[in-house]
Subunit: 174 residues, 4 copies
């Protein structure tokens, strides 16, 4: 997308996400993996595993601790004067009408992130709302996967494209 | 309420609910506790623990098995020519906007019950929708309890009254 | 084994196990799948999923309800004068020294089964103890699978052979 | 105990434990709560909630991450030249014969801690083994609490005394 817009020379993109990470995993490795690279802009996109692992292995993250680690991460990045943009977690299951098992919790953790953003003057890419609205309009058969994800959680190409567009919008908006 | 309407002489009410029960617990004891009493009308009001215990002790009920036992219960009651009225589970937490941890699962299990009702020609007292709409209108501070429940799950007097009204409506409607 | 002993003409073997079943699933289908076949001998081999699903999907079985359904199953079989032989659940993980996640719970549910056997005058094939002792002696590298199971839970051919031997011993012992 | 031995003037004791903490909670606050106090000796006593919360709220800690955070904590303390003494988590339930629900997991996380101790040349106060052996000898009625704990988890005065004795032994041993 940056290339299409002819602005790719202005940006260097560094991926730092690791599969299976929860919020405290980010905190543990943020010095070496993020801070030391002196980023201008940092997207924080975390929360799916913090909710999901409650059901799949009993190792999710308590909401109060999710907020505490999330806030600690932002504090460290702000000290380095990075511009921090928060993403709400997109989805676990694509059924409509908030009937996916973790929808309530996903909505709650997204609320926490929006509140943290407000308190820290951060932009939000509200993937939770974006994915929900997309699925409500584009999932006539009420499938649990296959619209924006391959398995309900991991993004397919349509999902990746949607996230990229919204992230680019956020970068461009000040 | 029956007394207020002067029709209490026409009804005998028999409580058969037991705290902590899940759908299979009903099945195990329905012969002795329900069928042998030759009821004319049976309300089935189950599902909260089937969802809730997933989070609190790892002993909730898989959705597919919830449906299987629920259907087996209805079949036994229909064989006795009882009129069967199904209730969706009311609530686990009273926060608005589907942000209670189990809201997604509660919505899903309620959908299952509505579908079973359709397939078995049963009335539904849709407590799930009734409580949700009530809380959306009557919980301006977005509390997690105290509107229709004492603790988010167990009904307070307002909750009990609401359920009683809706059950009476259902009995009167044919 | 029956053929090797030249006694296979005296036995008809009927499998009634279904993958993923917990104790209450047995109860739901025992009339059609077991009782109606008028068995002389019935092996009950249940409990792994009742423990395991607590961790993998939050849908295991409370110990008190495990015992209640188990006892109800035996009662139905005894009424039909079947000889009932109880098996304790073998294993979830094959590491030594009781270091598999569910070892404590597996030991506890096995204790419940042994107690039920005592109270109902049933034989026990104590697979829990048999597998534990086997793994303690035959797992020098302390692997979590591959000795008597393929994946820690499902039996490999050595595991199946061991179970068959112990079941045959039990049938022959009166 | 220090007073009884007449050596209390040589020691200043600083408590830094917080109820409900898991290993990553220690990591988050160790700079302010421990490192800044320049301790000579640090006891790390963590792990019960990392295991227990898997069952009670689905928010325990994966074993691999438990080890990762634990090691990161030791590394920080070693950099400050603190003498670090590791405690294995004592108990969740006091029944004998490894029949408490979390016994397998508690044994496993204790193994991890002993291995970390070996790799980092740290002393271990092996509360897991100490409590197990004590309960095997002193719990003739096989109760789940009341020997060294009030509720199976939180220590009673006998439990606290036992821990204090073993910690003092460890301090004195070099």
């Amino acid at each position: 997308m940056l290339k299409q817009k002819g602005i790719d020379a202005q940006y260097e993109l560094i991926g730092a996400g690791i599969s299976g990470n929860k919020v405290y995993d980010l905190y543990l490795r943020m010095d070496s993996d993020v801070v030391m690279k002196n980023p201008d802009v940092v997207f924080i996109y975390i929360g799916v595993n913090d909710v999901w692992h409650k059901s799949t292995s009993g190792t999710g993250t308590d909401a109060v601790k999710f907020e505490r680690f999330y806030t600690a991460i932002i504090k460290k990045l702000k000290e380095k004067n990075a511009r921090v943009i928060l993403c709400t977690p997109a989805t676990i299951g694509e059924k409509k009408g908030y009937t996916n098992q973790q929808d309530g919790d996903m909505n709650y953790y997204s609320e926490i992130i929006r509140r943290i953003a407000g308190g820290n003057n951060c932009q939000v890419v509200d993937l939770r709302s974006i994915f929900h609205e997309y699925d409500e309009r584009n999932n006539p058969e009420n499938k649990d996967r296959g619209i924006l994800t391959t398995d309900g959680v991991h993004l397919n190409s349509a999902g990746n494209k949607l996230v990229a567009e919204k992230m680019l919008d956020a970068i461009m908006t000040r």
